[in-house]
């Protein structure tokens, strides 16, 4: 026991080599597109070339007649689903919308919307079939921009969409699905007390998660109705539940085997291809493999919202922020369900405010339906609020870190969205920035420094784990969460910690839906916390059983046995009476002491600790080209307790890098017909390695009391602050406030020219 009362840990906090590493670096790991079944067909999707069009009819007869074509499907092959809230994904969704997004029924709502699919014996035959499908479209006016979509007279996507959350209920349909308000105190009165008020509107562009692995699956529908699906996703149980619901199949009939996942970041928390592959397999009697191209990923899968963020903050001369007000308008893509809710809830969560109000609008447009993306919604509202706070610091002539420290959320702060924070590390991450050498590096001409802080809830939820003690004293830990951030390593480490054995003796696996208890998907930064808790509980049960076997062997009461360093040791009055029995000894003899030793745990983990992080970035701006170079970047974050510090650092670095891309170059470019012009990594510019400096990290540890080892989720917080930090750094470098993302070279150059014109 350490002096502060935390237990001495032997495995947690170390940096072992990840158990899935060798397979990944040698290319042996099987990702979605690597899996094959004998006799499989090639499945492909026909996508709408129009941003908004009524589908008058679809004639598939010519396609069906092509040699090698074994099945053609449209929405008519899927059951019509009534509106019902979906409960197994991340973020709000409706099964009816999900069905429509998987395959357009009456209208195509965006360029890339699936309208039909085929399965054939070769890719060439499948391509020929797609070309032979005749879709009679009535092209309709479309709308791409979120504010254009809110204007009266804008093309309406859904004639049954009446804005909820307004009183009285509107008489006419619109593209505004929902209005919501979160309010604490009396905001209007609080602004009266302010000495300084900052008010400005900001805008962000929709951005894609940019996972390297396109969506891919293989499905087999057997003659007895049993369905097997092999796919990469952020949750095999999520895939099972969605396919069951969208196709009207019992859950027990479906078995989903998770394949290795090549990045998800939230974008693989829903299904696109799987229901189509199952239908095509049912119609053809053969296994069907489907894999998106990169172009399909961009045109057909969900990015996160773009939106506008109007922010007003008021402060006293001494820097005390007395009021905050914000209005967020998020585009959801073709169906309702943008992350505007979490955008509202996180907007001011970094600050201890008594009077705060956030209003949000969820708006549909003719773009792909948005999907979750790392801390869904939070980066958008944070860009507005943290830009405004930077402007406030400049008005006050106050150091931006000091201003944040003065107003930071801390234990006891009541957040605008309801809860009162317990042990949190917001202040600690700000202090860590102040104490880092980067904070005082001298800057040259056209160089600037920016800071921003961010928040994400983190979640817990339903998880299961099974621990099997093998007969040689090694162990297998099975969980049901795809490993997207090094979770196999952390699961093995927590099991090894409890069992008291080397981590190399624990083999973690990600099991299929029929081989382990239910696990909610990998998302919300929940797996190390919630599934980790299940692993710890199952491991403790296994230890209890091991102690019982030792007690039986020694013929002493079980409470007279203790577990130390992977061995059963007689304790109390029996201390020293027997030689300790190791895990190996007990495992080898388990057949004679009661049979195999295994334990499971299924739980609904509560008390995920909220996460905070602060980023500090230095940039240099080329005034003539508008190019922004990132000189150095520091991200500090509270991890509660880093189970495997390297993977915590990796999450922080990855989030920061995605945020830099969001800040500088990433955007969807549409032509005047609403067709996407840059569906590929050439012109959708995520950062390349040479664009970036090393991302420095400082992991702060304010333990989460609800987790056995103090862990908090870490995967989402790091994408929240980068955009504002970058904008604040650009302002510091060239004296220009960039209010619209991406801050791409043409926009920066234009702003420089406008500044020069204004000064003349």
């Amino acid at each position: 026991m350490a002096p502060d009362g935390t237990p001495d840990l032997k495995v947690v906090g170390t940096r072992p080599i990840r158990p899935d590493g060798v397979d990944k670096v040698t290319g042996r790991a099987q990702f979605g597109a690597d899996f094959q079944l004998p006799g499989q067909l090639v499945g492909k999707v026909l996508r709408s070339p129009h941003a908004h069009a009524r589908i008058r009819s679809i004639d598939t007869s010519k396609a069906e007649a092509i040699p090698g074509v074994k099945a053609v499907m449209t929405a008519a092959d899927m059951p019509e689903i009534t509106s019902e809230e979906a409960f197994v994904g991340e973020g709000p969704a409706d099964f009816k919308d999900m069905s429509g997004n998987t395959m357009a029924r009456d209208k195509a709502l965006y360029d890339g919307h699936a309208v039909a699919a085929v399965a054939a014996t070769s890719a060439a035959a499948a391509d020929a079939a797609l070309a032979a499908i005749e879709v009679d479209y009535e092209v309709l006016p479309h709308v791409i921009d979120v504010e254009d979509a809110m204007v009266e007279g804008a093309p309406v996507l859904h004639d049954d969409m009446f804005t909820s959350g307004v009183d009285p209920k509107p008489a006419t349909p619109s593209n505004v699905a929902k209005r919501m308000v979160f309010e604490l105190g009396d905001v209007d009165a609080a602004f009266e007390k302010a000495d300084i008020v900052i008010e400005r509107k900001y805008k962000t562009a929709p951005v894609h998660q940019g996972y390297i692995e396109p969506h891919a699956c293989v499905a087999q529908y057997a003659a007895d109705g049993q369905v097997q699906i092999y796919c990469s996703s952020q949750g095999q149980f999520m895939v099972r539940a969605y396919v069951a619901k969208l196709l009207g199949i019992d859950i027990s009939e479906i078995r989903v085997t998770p394949l290795e996942i090549g990045g998800g970041f939230g974008g693989k928390t829903l299904v696109y291809l799987e229901p189509l592959a199952v239908v095509l397999s049912r119609k053809s009697g053969r296994p069907v493999k489907m894999a998106m191209t990169r172009e399909e990923v961009f045109r057909g899968s969900g990015p996160t919202s773009g939106g506008t963020v109007w922010v007003k903050i008021g402060a006293k001369r001494d820097g005390t922020i007395v009021a905050g007000d914000a209005v967020l308008k998020f585009q959801a893509g073709a169906y309702a369900g943008s992350p505007v809710g979490p955008g509202c809830m996180t907007a001011f969560a970094v600050y201890d405010l008594q009077d705060v109000r956030i209003t949000g609008y969820d708006v549909v447009t003719n773009r792909p339906k948005v999907a979750a993306y790392r801390a869904p919604g939070a980066p958008i509202s944070n860009f507005g609020v943290e830009s405004a706070v930077d402007e406030l610091a400049r008005e006050l002539d106050m150091d931006p870190v000091e201003l944040r420290l003065k107003n930071a959320a801390k234990k006891g702060t009541k957040a605008a969205y309801g809860p009162t924070f317990g042990d949190i590390g917001c202040v600690e991450t700000l202090e860590a920035v102040k104490n880092h050498p980067n904070y005082n590096v001298p800057l040259g001409p056209n160089q600037g420094r920016g800071v921003a802080a961010g928040f994400w809830f983190n979640i817990g939820g339903e998880s299961s784990a099974t621990v099997n003690i093998n007969e040689d004293g090694t162990a297998v830990v099975a969980t049901g969460n795809p490993d997207i951030g090094g979770s196999r390593a952390s699961m093995a480490m927590m099991a090894a910690e409890v069992l008291g054995i080397d981590v190399e003796r624990v083999r973690p696996i990600v099991a299929d839906t029929s081989s382990v208890g239910y696990c909610f998907l990998t998302g919300g930064s929940r797996v190390t916390f919630a599934t980790g808790m299940a692993v710890v509980e199952a491991s403790k049960s296994a230890v209890n059983e091991l102690k019982a076997r030792a007690a039986k062997t020694w013929d002493i009461p079980v409470d007279a046995v203790e577990w130390e360093d992977g061995r059963a040791v007689p304790a109390g009055s029996n201390a020293g009476d027997f030689e300790p029995l190791s895990l190996e000894d007990l495992a080898a003899k388990s057949g004679r002491t009661g049979g195999p030793i295994a334990a499971t745990s299924s739980l609904n983990a509560q008390g995920a600790g909220p996460g905070f992080g602060t980023h500090l970035v230095d940039v240099e701006v080329d005034r003539e080209t508008g190019h922004v170079k990132v000189l150095r970047y520091l991200a500090t974050q509270d991890a509660g307790r880093a189970i495997h510090p390297s993977y915590v650092e990796g999450q922080i670095q990855g989030g920061a890098v995605q945020g830099i891309g969001w800040a500088l170059n990433e955007e969807y470019i549409y032509d005047d017909k609403g067709r996407l012009e840059n569906p590929g990594f050439l012109d959708y510019r995520i950062p390349v390695a040479s664009d970036l400096p090393m991302i420095d990290t400082v992991v702060v540890e304010v333990p989460n009391p609800r987790h056995p080892y103090g862990a908090r989720g870490v995967g989402e917080v790091p994408i929240v602050p980068p955009m504002a930090a970058m904008a604040n750094a650009i302002q510091d470098a060239i004296g220009i406030r960039m209010t619209e993302l991406p801050m791409s070279p043409p926009k920066v150059r234009k702003a420089v020219d406008e500044q020069a014109a204004a000064e003349e």
Partner: protein
């Protein structure tokens, strides 16, 4: 279903004959870094693909009377590793090395870059500025033309049926001559030029420019030669007035389009910026 013919001849004569006799669309594969992408994306469906990598003379760099002859299938990586090429013509080697990734560099060639006829081709403004020519083989023998005469518009060239470029020729480099190429992309690599600028200058012993050629990429349907920009430098040292005149001449020559990679306004401004910066490097390399 689509199935193109593929041939990999070992002599130029054989290659020319295949191209001349081809029915339908024939395409030469030098490195294939553009062609394969166009095939995979379905933009192009040639009936015949002629791979020229097995023709020995197309794979070598030779020196001729103080100049260079670079075979049509010589890759960027090979150009970069050549003992003297990058010492003599650093601008053109830097330009070809900007194309794609390390892996692409193993295949991408000057001639492929030229014959793909993209106005944004990185190596072309550098070659044009350096006064490079190409050797074209065809059914009626060989001919030699300046590099700038090959592309005629986006995706189209002046090559006749049966003709192929077999080499790029660089002239002997005059004393006190320096070249440079710069491009602008939003990232640091793996991108297509929003604007490119190649500048080659020759100076007298006092550092005054006696000859110059300036070429711009991605600001018109083909790579441009800008005589007014060269005139802004000739007779001058690298001073602010000359640079300002160069900037203005470069901007005046631009006829760009608005597209997903840049606006007319932005491309025009940056063309002037890059011309100035490339000129500064070229002067330095020439010994100023």
């Amino acid at each position: 279903m689509y199935a193109p013919s593929f041939a990999a001849p070992t002599t130029v004569a054989e290659a020319v004959q295949l191209l001349a006799n081809a029915s339908g669309v024939a395409r030469v594969l030098a490195g294939g870094t553009d062609l394969l992408v166009q095939l995979r994306s379905g933009i192009l469906k040639p009936d015949l693909i002629v791979d020229t990598k097995r023709i020995p003379e197309l794979r070598t760099i030779t020196t001729e009377g103080g100049g260079y002859r670079i075979g049509a299938s010589v890759s960027g990586a090979e150009a970069g590793e050549h003992a003297t090429l990058s010492r003599d013509w650093p601008g053109i080697v830097e330009a070809v090395e900007l194309i794609g990734s390390t892996q692409i560099q193993g295949r991408a060639s000057f001639v492929g870059n030229l014959c793909n006829a993209s106005p944004a081709a990185d190596s072309v403004p550098a070659l044009v500025a350096a006064g490079a020519t190409v050797v074209i083989a065809g059914p009626n023998g060989e001919r030699e033309v300046p590099v700038e005469e090959v592309p005629t518009g986006p995706g189209s060239t002046s090559l006749a049926k049966g003709e192929m470029v077999v080499a790029v020729k660089l002239p002997p480099k005059p004393a006190r001559t320096g070249d440079a190429y710069l491009r602008f992309i939003p990232r640091t690599e793996m991108d297509i030029a929003v604007v490119g600028a190649g500048v080659c200058v020759t100076l007298d012993e006092g550092g005054t420019c006696t000859a110059a050629k300036v070429s711009l990429g991605a600001v018109a349907p083909t790579v441009l030669v800008v005589p007014d920009a060269a005139a802004a430098l000739i007779g001058n040292k690298l001073d602010d007035a000359a640079l300002a005149a160069l900037d203005a001449a470069a901007r005046a020559a631009c006829k760009p389009i608005d597209d997903k990679r840049g606006t007319i306004e932005y491309r025009t401004k940056v063309a002037g910026v890059l011309a100035r910066r490339a000129a500064a490097t070229a002067f330095k390399r020439a010994g100023a």
